[in-house]
C-alpha cells in the first residue's frame, strides 16, 4: 500500500524545519562572529556565501553523499539514506540563504544599537537584547527563506535520502517518483500541498511580524 500524502507531508515538514532551524542558528552564530571583523573581510565572507546560494543542490547532494558513503570517513555513522542524511544535506542548502539574508542588517544594526545602548547610560551587555529585538523581522524572514529553500529542493533529498517510501520520501522526491511512473494526478496534488505550505507559512510569518512582533 503506497504511503499516504499526509505522512510524506509530515516527514517533509519535520526534515526541512529541522534543517532550516540548524542552518538559521548557525547563520546567526556566524553573523555574530563576523560582525566583529573589519568590514572589508566581512564583505568577502558574505560574497562567498552569496556565491554558494546558487550552487546546485545536486552538487551539495554529491558532497554529502561522498561524506556519508560507507567507504568514506563518516561511513561508520550509517546515515546515508536516512532522514538525518537529508537534514544534513538540506542544512548545507539552507545555510547560505539564511546567512546572506541576515548578515548585512546584523552588521549595520550592531554598531548603531551598541551606541544607542551606551548613549542611554546602559551597559554594553544589553546591546544584544536590543539588537535581537531590532532584528526580529529580519530573522523571521531569514528562517522562512531557509525553510523554503530546504523544503523545495530535490537534489539532496534524492541523492542522500533515496526517496524510500515510508522512510525517506519527502514531498519533492514523491513528486519526482509519481511523475516518473505517470501518476500525474497525485504528483499535482503533492505539488499543490508544497505550494500551500510555503505560501501559508510566508503569510503567517508576515502577520506575526506585523502584530506579535509589534511593540
Amino acid at each position: 500500500m503506497p504511503e499516504s500524502i499526509l505522512s510524506v507531508t509530515l516527514r517533509s515538514l519535520y526534515v526541512s524545519s529541522t534543517a532550516a532551524f540548524i542552518a538559521f542558528a548557525s547563520a546567526l552564530a556566524l553573523s555574530a562572529i563576523l560582525a566583529r571583523v573589519p568590514r572589508r573581510r566581512a564583505e568577502m565572507a558574505l560574497g562567498v556565501f552569496e556565491a554558494l546560494v546558487g550552487v546546485p543542490t545536486t552538487v551539495i547532494g554529491l558532497f554529502v553523499y561522498m561524506l556519508l558513503h560507507p567507504h568514506s570517513p563518516l561511513g561508520f555513522t550509517r546515515l546515508l539514506y536516512t532522514p538525518i542524511a537529508i537534514i544534513i544535506g538540506q542544512f548545507f542548502v539552507a545555510l547560505p540563504m539564511a546567512f546572506t539574508s541576515m548578515f548585512r542588517p546584523f552588521y549595520e544594526l550592531r554598531e548603531s544599537v551598541k551606541e544607542l545602548v551606551l548613549s542611554l547610560g546602559c551597559s554594553e551587555k544589553l546591546a544584544t537584547k536590543v539588537l535581537l529585538g531590532e532584528l526580529a523581522p529580519v530573522l523571521t524572514s531569514s528562517y522562512l527563506l531557509a525553510f523554503s529553500r530546504a523544503i523545495g529542493e530535490l537534489g539532496v533529498a534524492l541523492m542522500v535520502g533515496g526517496g524510500i517510501e515510508g522512510y525517506t520520501s519527502v514531498l519533492t522526491t514523491a513528486i519526482a517518483v509519481r511523475t516518473s511512473i505517470g501518476d500525474y494526478e497525485v504528483a499535482i496534488q503533492i505539488g499543490l500541498i508544497l505550494l500551500c505550505i510555503t505560501i501559508s507559512l510566508a503569510l503567517m510569518l508576515k502577520a506575526l511580524g506585523e502584530r506579535v512582533l509589534w511593540r
Binding site: 544599537v113 551606551l118 548613549s119 547610560g121 546602559c122 551597559s123 536590543v130
Partner: protein, 220 residues
C-alpha cells in the same frame, strides 16, 4: 557632577586625530555650549565625554574617578548617570511610546506614567505616541530622542545639535527643560555649529573647538 577631560586625543583610523590634546573641566552644574564648524570634533568630544568612545589617549574623570581605569561594575554605576542624545536620532522598531520608555526599560526602572505624560503633552507627541517611530518627521524623531534622554534624569546630559529640525516654540521648551536639569545639579553640554538665540543668556560657558583643539573658552 564634575567631569574632566585630561590631555584627550582621539583618532578613528590611527592616522588623523579628531581631538588633539583637549583639556576641559565641567565643574558644577550649568549649561555648557560647545561651538565649532563642521568637522571640528564636537561630536567626538561629546561621545568621549558621554563615555561612548574611549579616547586613544588621555583620561576622562567623573567626580575625580578615572572612568576607563575602573572595573566593569564601577563603570556601569557611573555610566548610568550619563546620557547622550545623538544628532541623528537612533530610534528602534516599535511605537513612539516604546521608544520613549526604552532607556528606563533597559535600566529596569519602572516608567513614571505621570512624568511620561507630562513630556508627551509638553512636546506635542500625544497624537503620535502609538504610531511607529519610523514614520515620524525629523523634528518629531528628534523630540522623541530628547524626551527619552530627559526621562532618565541624567547628571550629565550631552546633546548633539539639539535644535536642528525643531521649531522655535519647541526649541524654547527644550531650553527650559535643560535649564531645569542644570538647576537640579546636572551638567548639560550642548554641541552646535552656531549659537542659537535660545541658548543666549542661559549658558554658563561657551567653548570653541577648531580642528580638534580648544580654541577659546569664555564665561557667558
Amino acid at each position: 557632577m564634575e567631569v574632566e577631560l585630561v590631555n584627550v586625543w582621539h583618532s578613528y583610523d590611527g592616522f588623523t586625530y579628531a581631538l588633539k590634546d583637549v583639556n576641559l573641566a565641567f565643574k558644577g552644574p550649568g549649561v555648557y555650549v560647545l561651538i565649532g564648524p563642521n568637522g571640528s570634533g564636537k561630536t567626538t568630544l561629546l561621545k568621549v565625554l558621554s563615555l561612548i568612545i574611549r579616547p586613544s589617549r588621555g583620561e576622562v574623570a567623573l567626580n575625580g574617578a578615572k572612568f576607563w581605569s575602573l572595573d566593569e561594575r564601577e563603570r556601569s554605576s557611573l555610566r548610568s548617570s550619563v546620557v547622550y542624545v545623538h544628532d541623528k536620532p537612533i530610534l528602534v522598531r516599535g511605537s513612539v511610546k516604546y521608544n520613549l520608555e526604552l532607556g528606563l526599560r533597559l535600566r529596569g526602572v519602572n516608567v513614571d506614567r505621570a512624568v511620561l505624560e507630562h513630556y508627551v503633552e509638553r512636546y506635542g507627541l500625544k497624537d503620535v505616541e502609538d504610531k511607529p517611530a519610523t514614520r515620524l518627521s525629523s523634528g518629531q524623531a528628534k523630540l522623541v530622542s530628547m524626551v527619552r534622554g530627559l526621562l532618565l534624569r541624567p547628571r550629565l546630559l550631552a546633546l548633539d545639535e539639539p535644535f536642528t529640525f525643531l521649531d522655535s516654540a519647541r526649541a524654547s521648551l527644550l531650553v527650559e527643560d535643560l535649564i531645569e536639569v542644570a538647576r537640579g545639579g546636572g551638567v548639560v553640554v550642548i554641541a552646535t555649529h552656531y549659537m542659537h538665540k535660545e541658548l543666549r543668556g542661559c549658558s554658563r560657558q561657551v567653548i570653541e573647538l577648531v580642528d580638534g583643539e580648544v580654541a577659546s573658552r569664555r564665561e557667558a
